[in-house]
């Protein structure tokens, strides 16, 4: 690659010729302020905050989208540039509500941080403000157009990463607004509720629907038995909310914190993950034998399932009918667990702590209600961020908590359940169980490194016994589209496909902690995702039981209650169905 010599603020350096000024500056420790830039999204150049001065060019240039040339002399700081950047932020604030203290992003808002950093101390351009109604239509994602600064990151993440293209700018000039097609509400759109718009939004224009009020109320009611279940990825990210770097395992403190909040029992969604594997491998081996409905596609990710219903309705039969781990646990809590402990299912309040905003939507799907009783199996879903806030709101000092353990029986899980939170994890867990069932040999390979990686799209052929399984793994729905089109057009024959809606899997879900604005870590940063995933693989490695079907409490569950895997009761309680949705996605 050709290199060019440039000078940045009197520092001489050599950089590849296709770098932008911003990339060159990042290398030498100069952090140019920015709002609309994201390394994995296309360049927009919308905010103009990252302007720099280039010798010989009259106008200031946006450093995110200007490429270097040989002999370029760049000045990133001068009283004039700082003034210009400050003016730009002030102009944005002109059209921004002044309610930082009431805002859910207070303390972790890029616009707020930038105003402070650039020295905005008064409002000079106060004028007429746009006013829009809050879009509360969706169970998962709340859209607040008043807080939007039109950086376009939500539009780009929805298009470039998720392939959903739900959002676009509508109207123009001062009237510009980001909405789904036809300015409709989030509910009446192809939104898959993955929540990535929330992760990349520098302000609070997109936030999750808040369910904490309902939970406080349930916790305060002595007649209600409140149960928490926590998804695999929560433990790998929750510590970030309390000052730790990504990848710190916070399982023990998280359990203690939930108990102190007043939860009567704390169970593990990983138990459901193990159970999913047991049911799913029975389903898969059946399909493999009959050759029907192949490839089988995993169904744990509710964002992916909604995507399937809007974008690939013809492939619905290929999706596994297994409920997601969360719904399996919730269903068992209000049936098996309730019966065993003489509890009235209507007096049980199940809270799912999930890295995911689509889980909020999933819990409200009519398929996940008890028809006779008219109650949902999962009463409320909160994200990692909401749980972190609840812990802080309750005055719990997370970092000084003793480590707790999950309650039994639905709190015991094998290593297979832990890795569900990372892309490739469901595949690896399935392979561990299928291999044991297909070959009858128990102690074979446990770690399928072919499937471990955070790349968006992987394919492999894995030999199990005398069979070769063609597998594919996709994370990020744009990658899923590629695989699904290959399946649809019969270009490739896979046996099993794992799809997770979010980049890197649940560890980077739409409900995970947003990196602190001071840390210079982008939301969806690859390294951050890898560290969170590693925390899960480490937990898996340190467990003595690592195959889902060897979970003794699952064996007991089938013995005492469900009968056999894939049996009648198991099918009734642990499986679900999907249906095509409108509007159709493109």
């Amino acid at each position: 690659m050709n290199k060019v010599n440039i000078q940045i603020d009197d520092i001489n350096l050599e950089v590849p010729e296709n770098s932008t000024i911003m990339e060159a500056c990042d290398k030498v420790g100069i952090h140019i302020p920015r709002l609309c830039y994201h390394p994995i999204l296309s360049n927009e150049g919308a905010c103009r905050i990252c302007i720099v001065e280039v010798d010989g060019i009259y106008n200031y240039l946006p450093s995110c989208s200007t490429y270097v040339f040989d002999g370029m002399k760049i000045k990133t700081n001068s009283p004039e540039i700082r003034q210009a950047r400050r003016d730009l932020v002030e102009l944005m604030l002109d059209n921004h509500p002044m309610d930082c203290q009431l805002c859910v992003r207070n303390g972790n808002c890029e616009l707020q941080a930038l105003s402070y950093k650039l020295g905005v101390r008064e409002r000079l351009f106060e004028g007429v403000r746009k006013s829009y109604e809050l879009d509360l239509s969706s169970d998962s994602v709340v859209r607040n157009a008043e807080k939007c600064i039109l950086c376009g990151q939500c539009i780009r993440v929805c298009a470039n990463v998720q392939g959903v293209y739900n959002l676009s700018q509508h109207h123009r000039g001062v009237n510009t607004i980001v909405t789904p097609a036809f300015l409709s509400s989030m509910e009446n759109s192809v939104c898959v509720k993955c929540g990535q718009c929330i992760n990349v939004c520098p302000t609070a224009a997109f936030t999750e629907k808040d369910y904490t009020e309902k939970i406080w109320a349930a916790l305060n009611d002595p007649d209600i038995f409140v149960i928490a279940q926590t998804a695999p990825s929560i433990r790998a990210a929750i510590a970030e909310g309390f000052g730790h770097p990504p990848g710190v395992n916070g399982t023990g403190q998280m359990i203690t914190a939930l108990r102190r909040l007043g939860f009567d029992a704390v169970f593990d969604t990983n138990f459901g993950a193990d159970l999913t594997i047991v049911e799913e491998s029975v389903e898969f081996l059946k399909r493999l034998e009959s050759g029907e409905k192949l490839p089988m596609i995993t169904s744990c990710s509710p964002g992916w399932i909604k995507f399937l219903e809007h974008f690939f309705p013809e492939l619905i039969p290929n999706a596994s009918t297994c409920k997601s781990p969360m719904q399996m646990v919730s269903t068992l809590l209000k049936t098996y667990y309730a019966e065993k402990n003489n509890l009235d299912p209507k007096k049980i309040f199940v809270v799912g702590v999930m890295p995911c905003t689509a889980k909020k939507f999933e819990s409200r799907r009519p398929e996940h209600y008890n028809v006779e009783g008219g109650y949902p199996y999962t009463d409320a879903v909160i994200t990692t961020r909401e749980l972190i806030w609840m812990i802080k709101a309750y005055g719990i000092d997370f970092n000084h908590l003793p480590k707790g353990n999950f309650d039994l029986p639905l709190g015991f899980s094998t290593g297979a359940g832990d890795i569900f939170g990372s892309t490739g994890g469901v595949m690896e867990a399935t392979l561990r169980t299928c291999q044991a069932k297909l070959t009858g040999i128990q102690n074979q390979e446990l770690e399928y490194f072919d499937v471990r990686n955070v790349e968006g799209l992987r394919e492999a052929s894995i030999k199990i016994g005398d069979k070769v399984l063609n597998i594919a793994i996709a994370n990020g729905l744009n990658n899923a589209k590629t695989i699904l089109n290959r399946v649809k057009n019969k270009e490739k024959e896979y046996h099993i496909v794992e799809i997770m809606a979010c980049l890197g899997g649940c560890v980077a879900g739409g409900g995970q902690p947003i990196p602190d604005v001071g840390e210079f870590i982008y939301p969806l940063d690859k390294n951050m995702i890898k560290l969170r995933a590693k925390a899960l693989y480490d937990i898996d490695e340190n467990k003595s039981i690592r195959r889902a079907h060897e979970n003794p409490y699952i064996e007991k569950l089938y013995e005492e209650y469900l009968g056999k895997p894939g049996g009648e009761l198991a099918y009734k309680l642990l499986h679900t169905h999907y249906h095509p949705r409108l509007p159709k996605g493109i």
């Binding site: 700018q169 509508h170 909405t179 097609a181 036809f182 409108l582 159709k584 493109i586």
Partner: protein
Amino acid sequence: MFEEDYNLDKEITDYIDWCKEQEHPESYLIAILHKIQEKYGYLSQENMYEVAQKLRVPTSFVSGVATFYHYFRLKPRGYFHISICLGTACFVKGADLVLKAFQNELGIEIGETTSDGVFSIEGARCIGVCALAPVLMINDAVYGNVKPTQVSELLSSLRAKYNQEKKVSA
């Protein structure tokens, strides 16, 4: 919105098919929207949805483009579409008063259509006949030297015409 609701004219769907054979089909989006507006007078959500599905351009992008350009109408026009020239010459000669008279008589603003669907008004730039200022157009006919006091009478005669034409077609 369902596929059964697809109702674009064959002439337009043929054009979309042709566009899809070109190098950058999506770049023909505006041209397609023009044809639809020419045919139906405005862009309905159903039509835009159908364009998105057939051209394979995300629906949000189609509606984003349609709302960006003032030229595209998103609501149906009235049976009589009245464009009042608000260019310099007409304005100096009192076009604003003419506009106000229409607004008072019909109870609608620029860009709106009466609830019975008979009249819609729009502010136009120069029509090119400044000598007749103030000028307006009703559908394809040009009216010159319009006085605010004539508006009421003009609307009554149009309404009579509308009633008669409706009767004939019924």
